[in-house]
Amino acid sequence: MSTAWTILVLVVALGISWRFLGSYMEAVYERRVNWLGFIERPIYRICGIDDQLEQGWRRYATSLVVFSGVAMGFTYLILRLQGHLGLNPLHQHGVTPALAFNTSVSFVTNTNWQNYSGETTMSFFSQMIALASQMFISASVGIAVAVGLVRGLKRQHSKTIGNFWVDLTRGILYILIPIAFVASIIFVAQGAVDTLSGSVFIHNPLDGFKQLILLGPIASMEAIKELGTNGGGFFNANGAHPFENPTGLTNILSIYLILLIPVGLTYTFGKMVGSIKQGLALLAAMAIFFFSFMAIGLAAEQHTTAAVAKAGITHSASGNMVGKESRFGASSSVLYNVTSTQTSTGSVNSSMDSYTPIGGLTAMGGMMLGEVTPGGVGSGLYTILLFAIVTVFVGGLMVGRTPEYLGKKIQAREVKLAAIGVLVMPITVLVATGIAVSISQGRAGVLNPGPHGFSEILYAFTSQGNNNGSAFAGLSSNTAFYNVAGAIVMLIGRFGVILPALALGGALAEKGVVAPSLGTFRTDSILFCGLLVGVILIIGGLTFFPALSLGPLAEQLSHGRLF
């Protein structure tokens, strides 16, 4: 009952922000709100940017790739040199090269896969300036790509899709910082820590218990971690840590922040292309998947796991509590983790590795569908638009007519680009998983033997290929192999989709709009929504089903056998 209320409150709150934040974001990217112009204009001046000058897709993409490269180098250097940079009360040493490489790629690609424990690896300088600042930047880059693609759909006979530098700057200043700032104060009010002192030593007079409690600038990072669908925790325990996610209120706030922008962007899209219903059709397809996964996950975690049942606790009113916090219980844990895996966030408030097989499957499944349910900030929208192009193509094949999307004729070039964008992730993930299970360096990191061990590896590459960052954390992946292989998979998963999406935006921008006729397949209809759901399910489901049957399905069907 309380879970139903939680979901209801979330849906109402998201509905309100969908309408108003969605509309505000449209105004931000169409440059109709300028209340931070006094900060914005000097930035353009210092960087030598003519903010009135627009870029074609090639120049837009070049700026994005070069900037991301610089961001990686910047992050890498800070992590390597953190021992000499100050703000380091716990005296952390410089991060090793392989780990620094993996981590810098991870944060610049909005993945936030973490092959390290924050509390024993990162200085406050690194947490704030290298990592938390990338949380803003990579999120804004994601929205910029989505907006660039949508401009391509909207414009006619245009050579340009916007200015990358302007979109990047405006996303950070007008959207991410204000919301994150307000949210961080709510986190602190509830108990999240925000200080520059490193630790406090306590000695309990009751029983003499001693403990060194680690502190840090946590709340400000927590807010952008969720809002930017980044997911990288200050601590190893991420959102399960009481200093990151102290109460039921911060738990629902985290879920809300994660969904805020990905959901709102469907309204932004609708408003930009002149029909809110077009955005609603995409949102409906996202919601169908989201709530289906949520329902399956909630049902699965109401039971204790096979190992705990065999040990003697067969029934428990609280469901599966292994790896879950008492203040959340099973249901609020599932709400958080399923939300985070459906949005390329990857933060966790409970141990994904210890979920029931089907509970773990819902998290993995959401990622395998390409992170469009609703996906990460920006990445969810641009990826589902690729699926929408494939959908109208499939629809066009059925009736033997040149497909159109929003009045734009979808021809060979567009279909090829969309197909590349949609297929690059499954191919990368499956090839990387195949390599990892074939070599000893890949198998060495597994914690749990049997099918669950395979799931740990599959989960790791699925998560990195989708720039999610969630983990079956039993896998010991701070090794040369996993650091380098993971970084390559994250790079392909990010830029292998961004580049086709921007190229598609460029190709569409050059086209004119044809007037809808009787034979036009309406893309704001229930039929389109249904077909889109089918296409997403078939591409994601069929490519990953064989792999899933070796992992979570085999485990579920093992009738309680222990490994």
């Binding site: 600042s133 930047i137 108990g191 029983d207 600038p217 916090e325 008492s326 203040r327």
Partner: protein, 177 residues
Amino acid sequence: MLLIPLKRSLIMMVIFAVICGVIYPLAALGLAQGTFKYQANGSITRYGSALIGQNFTGSSWFHGRPDPYNPSSSGGSNLGPNSKALYNKTRALIAFYKSRGITPTQSLVVNSGSGLDPDISVNAAYAQAASVARARGLSTNQVDQLVKSEIVGRQFGFLGSPFVNVLALNVALSKTK
């Protein structure tokens, strides 16, 4: 061709590192320290942090989750649902509680997600009441009442799960004669 974006990227990276990595967190931190000083510094009382669990042992205290309670190494056990190691660990903990005359509920015998869980379920507290009362020479009814007074309900009636904070309960217990 690439020189201009490279130069712009370098300058912009530095600008945003300062705005997002210095100004934003320090402004939030300053406001947090000004308005919620107790929370922003870890909710520290003279007994410890209200939010970080402690490892109570012995029959005269309420026990928390079987967590390591080491803040320098947070996280769960990550043992899988069909793990033999999880089975062995859980069985040993059930036997331990049974030897004290306690029928443990799940949260007493399985690890949390943080390894620092300060709380246990309400049933897990009641399950220990009789045993703690015996060890302290109190009546079970007295300890039951104590547990009841320490129950933290769902926030706003629907958020999260009801729980008992183990440290708060033990502090209250230490003041009970």
